[in-house]
Structure formats: structure tokens, C-alpha cells
Symmetry: C2
Subunit: 390 residues, 2 copies
């Protein structure tokens, strides 16, 4: 087990009607003026935005707002938000939505007190020293952004989709999570969220670090719970218990619980970011395509942990042939994704002839010569994985 | 799943040599003068205390100290510490040790800014509104006090062993956890710690709350990891990987991770507190006696979750006869405790003729007419469980 720091200071307030506590919590954490950030019209139509505003008013917290954040969030909305926050003297960002909305709010929070271009942080040219506070009302369990210090933004001009990790500055101070708010998510979006949270766990799970039994078990337990509850939510989208389990799994998957003391991988996320940056597909759908391909490659090159995953999560019988076990696990994972209506190949993702050379070039330009940790991937190997996903 | 708040703001700094960060962390969290609290001479003999002091000096944090805290910590040391802190104008408590030392420090932290008797908090006569900060250097993985807002103190005069929970005030701001510090623990103490952390999980696990798959799986995964690593540490007490896994399991067991969204039980802890208050046995050993008895009772009265535990943690085959499954699980748990050198009956604990009526009277005087939640226990039923432990 490697040395580690585990620090998850976010106050998670979880359950029915919890959005009515938004105002009181914003006040508790010192907000005087918040900027509500949201996406399309669904939070308006559902009445959620009105309930949040009412709660802020009752607590005496004033607010302004910025809507229109799109999936795969882009730099344009960040610049717009930074300007608005400065003009309105906002001291807390309040994203109401899913990962795209939260990530946009985090980038704004870092950008407001910074004199340069916020994109400097994503390019590694500057460190986040100060940021406005961020607090969340979550409507889509997927990205885990409600409990992480991470944000991912796409720069439209260059089609670069890059992440920033600044846990000491960008972790939400509180996150409100009402599973009932997820009843109306289209099933495809629910499924994409499930693929995303599973990927967050698997990026941590597939490691060469030894003596990590406790985090292995936490990873496997969370994956097992997600799979069971996914079947339930497919049968009944309004099943509160299933929705609640999935929502909390999305947080556990990404707040650090599953990653303590181990080297993580994250090659699959990088492989996927290139796809969604260029083809603008849903991140979770892209992951459902990439991860089985990555695992198929790993079954041949480093099967140990893939075989353990196959056995402990999918019930594949133990044997001495780890590669065979691993491939059986990949097969069950693909079957599960298909059952959830997710694509497991470029073709099923609607991309018949992906420009793989372009993806590979951009990937290694953004991420360097070698990618990931479980097996460090060269350009050739990244290409092989993209080809396995055809 | 019930509504819940999950809030674990402690910064856990885990791994080799981390005690050398004590001073820098104390400074980061604003300490000017800390009071080091410790138990017997082991932290002196091992050189740990000197390393901690050196680290404080290097960071420019001054300190005073109070040693002599005993297992099953008592009110006397709390009064002594409160006076010392006031005289020395201490602003942070720094327990270096295990649960008894940490719990004493927490009680002192609550008592210093309070005008009345600190025991008021434990009797429910006052709420902790203010407290000094607490930070931890952990040497015994067991109580989970390094990540919890709980403390348990015994009042000598009345032999009342009572707990206090004030998570917003008494959670450590940081906890330093170096598994190497646990190499020299006597094996019996290691085993008692393991029983204690398993009990913390089981108190949360045995619930009637439905739709808690994610926390069920986190409980089961943590228990499974503890059991596996316990066998390894018995074979080699200096196995860093095994020690590291067990140490982190002790934190996960009690920082809230395993209890989200569910009604918890805690009857077994209350049953045990009476035993260790009167007979001054190790808390973990007392739990190894009480828990199998409690579970045997539950196998007859509410076997469902005990049967699930038997299947998922101990590999007992599934059947329709939940009581039979549950009893098979109890049998495996007892076998494990015995293998670890722990007692599983009053007799093995060295108490041939426990005064059960006295235990029961005191228990229900302290805790009220009904105890626990999984099955609410009357006096008669508490007595039955004590008798099952004979």
C-alpha cells in the first residue's frame, strides 16, 4: 500500500426534499450572493430551480443565474460565468445539475480571482491558489463531481478536452443529493451515468500496487451494488431505493474512497476524452466503448487484476488461466452495458469510420508519450485499443 | 434508504514516516500550543514521542504534555487535562496513542471552554457548543476515534461508561496514521482492535432499513478485508501490507462510510460497556464475547441480515433456512475470534460468575427501557443475551 492522504471534507446532505435546505446550508458556509449555474430547461420545467431560489430567499441569500451549459462543457460558458460573477460580486457558485454544470461552475470558481486566462490551469501553466466556494444541487449521478476536486472542460477552438484537479480549492463545501430528482432522467442518460461511475472505480481498481485489499474490496462492493441497482432501475425508473443507491455509488466512486493507497490508471478516460471532444458523444457512452477494449488489451498483457475483477464482481469461476478469466469478465461487462442500452463499439456509438490516427495523435500530444499506469501505453498500443473498439 | 448526512472532514495522512508531518499539519490547522496526551511508556520507549516533539519544534509549535491515560479511560484524567490546558493556554489537543488516549483528549477538548462539569455532556445535560481542536497520531487501530466525533469515558465513582457524539465539534482536524507504529503492539491487543473495528461495522450492518445495498456491500467488503489481513498479521506481525490494511479498515469502520442511510443498532456496544466498566476487561475482548451471543439471539428472532452476513462474509451457502445460515455464520465468527486468541464467553474472558442482574440493571438504567434497533431489547432479552455469553 502506498502512502496517501484521504481528505473528503464535503458535507453531503442526501435524501428526499433536501433541496429545501440549500439556502440554510449556503448561509452556514458563509454565502452572501451565489450564482446559480444550470443547463437546459429541465430544472426549470421540473420546478427545481424555483424551489432552490425559494430556499435561498428564505435564508436571505441573494443570487444571480447563468443557464445554458451543454453536455461536454466548453470554455465559452466559463468566460461568461467569470465575467458575470465579477460584475455581480458573487462569493459562491451553486451549480444545479450534473457533471457538466458542476465542472463549469468549478472552472468559473477558479477563474474569478485569477488575473490570467482560466485555461492556464488546465494547461498546467498555473496552479489554483484561490477560488470561490462551490456548492452543489445534484440532478445526475455520474461524474462524481459533487464530491471531487476535479473539473473537465473542452476548449472549442482547439478541441482540447482537459481535466484539472485542485482538491484543496475546488471540492464542493456541500452537496445536496435528492434521488427523486433523478426519476425523470431519460434512461439512456441514467445508463451513461452508470457507465461513468463504474469507470471511475475501474480506473482506480486496475493497479499494480500490492497490499490494497481494503480498497479492492470497496471497489468491488461498489461495482456490485451499482450493477444490482442498475437492473432494478431499468425495470422501474421511479424506484426510490434503486435511484438512491445509484446516486450514492456515484459519489463513493469518485470522492477518493475507492482509490486510497494505490496507483491509479486513467488511460481509458483519456482515450475517451479524445472521442467525445471530436465526436461530441456522451462521456459515459464513450467509456462503455473504450473500457471493454482497454480490458481486452490488458487481458493479453497484464491479466491479473482483470481476472480478479471477473471473479469477484461477475462471478467468473477462478482458474489458473487468468487471460481466459479476464476475457470472460469483459464479456459479462459488455453484456451488461448492452442490456443497459449502451454502445460497446465505435459502430454502435454511431461512428462508422473513426479517424483513429487523429485521435491517437491528439491523445499523446495532450497526455505525453506514455499513457496510464497499469500498462503504460505507447502511441501504437493506444491505437491498438482504439482498433479493438471498432 | 433513509435520508442522511455524510460529513468526514478529517484529513487522514497515512503511511510510513508520516509522524514527521505532525508539526507542519498542526501549524496548517492553526495551532500555537498543543497538549500532547499519551498513555503508558510505550510511546516514550519507541521514540515516537520524541519524533513528534521534534516535528512540533521544527514547525515552531509549542507544547505541554500529559501522560498516564489508562485503557477504559476515566474522568480523573479528563479533569486533570482540562486544568492543564487552561493553565497552559492550549489551543489544540494532540493525542498520541489509541482510542483511550484520543477519547480522553476529546473530552478535554469539549471541557476546556465549558463552564460546567464536562460530565454534563455525557449525561445529556448539555450540548458541546465549542471545543478545542483535536488532532491525532494513531498507534492502535481499533476504536476508529481518529475519524469519528465520538468519545467514551468511564466515571469511576459510579462506574458509568458513557459515550458522547459531537461530530461537528470533536472530529479530529487531521489524523496521522503510520502502520509501522503498530508492529510492536502485543498480539492480543491487535486482536482486540480487530474485534472492535469488526463490531463497529456490524453495529451498522445489522439493520431493518431496506434498500441499503451500497452500504451493505461496503460493510461486507471491509469485514472481508479485515478477516483476510488478520490471518496475515497473525503469521507475521511485521507485515507492512497487512498492518496497513487493518489500520485503514479501522477508520473506514467508524468514520461513517459504512453507516450511510441506515438505522444502526449499537446494543452490543452498550452490553459490552457494562462489562468493561465493572470488570475492566479490554473493550475488544468484551465485544468478542457479546457479539456472538447477540447474533445467536438474533438468529432466532430476526435472522435475515445475520444470514446475509453468514453468506456474503463467511461463504455460508445460501438456503431457505435463514436461522440455520445465521447460526453457521456465528459459528465461523467464533472460530475466527478463537483463532485470534480472543475469548468468546464470560468464562474465557476470566469472569466465571458474572453478576448478570447487576449488569442488566445498570445497562437499562443508563440506556433506557429498550435497547438497540435491529430487535429492541427489553431487560429480559438483554439478560438472555448475557446468559448466552456464559
Amino acid at each position: 500500500m502506498n502512502n496517501f492522504t484521504f481528505y473528503s471534507p464535503t458535507e453531503f446532505v442526501f435524501g428526499k426534499d433536501t433541496e429545501m435546505q440549500t439556502g440554510a446550508l449556503a448561509r452556514k458556509y458563509g454565502a452572501r450572493k451565489v450564482m446559480i449555474v444550470y443547463g437546459g430547461g429541465s430544472v426549470i420545467r421540473s420546478g427545481l430551480l424555483d424551489r432552490v431560489k425559494q430556499s435561498l430567499q428564505e435564508a436571505g441569500v441573494s443570487y444571480c443565474e447563468m443557464g445554458g451549459v451543454q453536455p461536454n462543457p466548453i470554455d465559452g460558458k466559463v468566460y461568461e460565468g467569470i465575467e458575470l460573477c465579477r460584475r455581480e460580486q458573487v462569493d459562491m457558485l451553486l451549480p444545479v445539475g450534473g457533471g457538466s454544470v458542476i465542472d463549469t461552475a468549478k472552472a468559473i470558481a477558479a477563474g474569478v480571482p485569477y488575473e490570467g486566462d482560466f485555461w492556464d490551469f488546465f494547461m498546467g501553466r498555473a496552479k489554483v491558489e484561490k477560488a470561490l466556494k462551490v456548492a452543489v444541487v445534484l440532478t445526475i449521478p455520474a461524474a462524481g463531481s459533487e464530491g471531487s476536486g476535479n473539473t473537465v472542460i473542452t476548449k472549442v477552438e482547439t478541441l482540447q478536452k482537459l481535466g484539472l484537479c485542485a482538491p484543496d480549492r475546488l471540492r464542493p463545501v456541500f452537496s445536496i443529493m435528492n434521488p427523486e430528482l433523478t426519476y425523470t432522467l431519460p434512461f439512456y442518460q441514467t445508463a451513461c451515468g452508470i457507465a461513468d461511475m463504474m469507470a471511475h472505480i475501474m480506473e482506480r481498481y486496475f493497479t499494480n500496487t500490492s497490499d490494497v485489499e481494503i480498497s479492492d474490496r470497496l471497489c468491488e462492493g461498489t461495482l456490485t451494488a451499482i450493477i444490482k441497482e442498475a437492473y432494478r432501475v431499468k425495470q422501474n425508473p421511479n424506484d426510490y431505493g434503486a435511484r438512491a443507491n445509484i446516486m450514492w455509488c456515484g459519489t463513493v466512486a469518485h470522492n477518493g474512497t475507492c482509490g486510497v493507497g494505490r496507483e491509479e490508471d486513467w488511460a481509458s478516460h483519456a482515450l475517451e476524452h479524445e472521442i467525445s471532444a471530436v465526436y461530441n458523444v456522451a462521456h459515459g457512452a464513450g467509456l462503455a466503448v473504450v473500457f471493454p477494449a482497454w480490458m481486452t488489451f490488458m487481458a493479453a498483457h497484464n491479466p491479473k487484476k482483470i481476472a480478479q475483477f471477473a471473479h469477484r464482481v461477475w462471478g467468473v469461476p477462478e482458474s489458473n488461466d487468468w487471460e481466459e478469466m479476464a476475457l470472460a469478465g469483459v464479456s459479462r461487462l459488455k453484456h451488461f452495458f448492452r442490456y443497459m442500452g449502451l454502445p460497446v463499439s465505435f459502430k454502435e456509438l454511431g461512428i462508422d469510420n473513426p479517424d483513429i490516427d487523429r485521435l491517437v495523435d491528439s491523445l499523446h500530444r495532450n497526455k505525453g508519450e506514455l499513457l496510464g499506469n497499469y500498462v503504460k501505453l505507447s502511441k501504437e498500443e493506444s491505437k491498438e485499443i482504439y482498433c479493438l473498439a471498432l
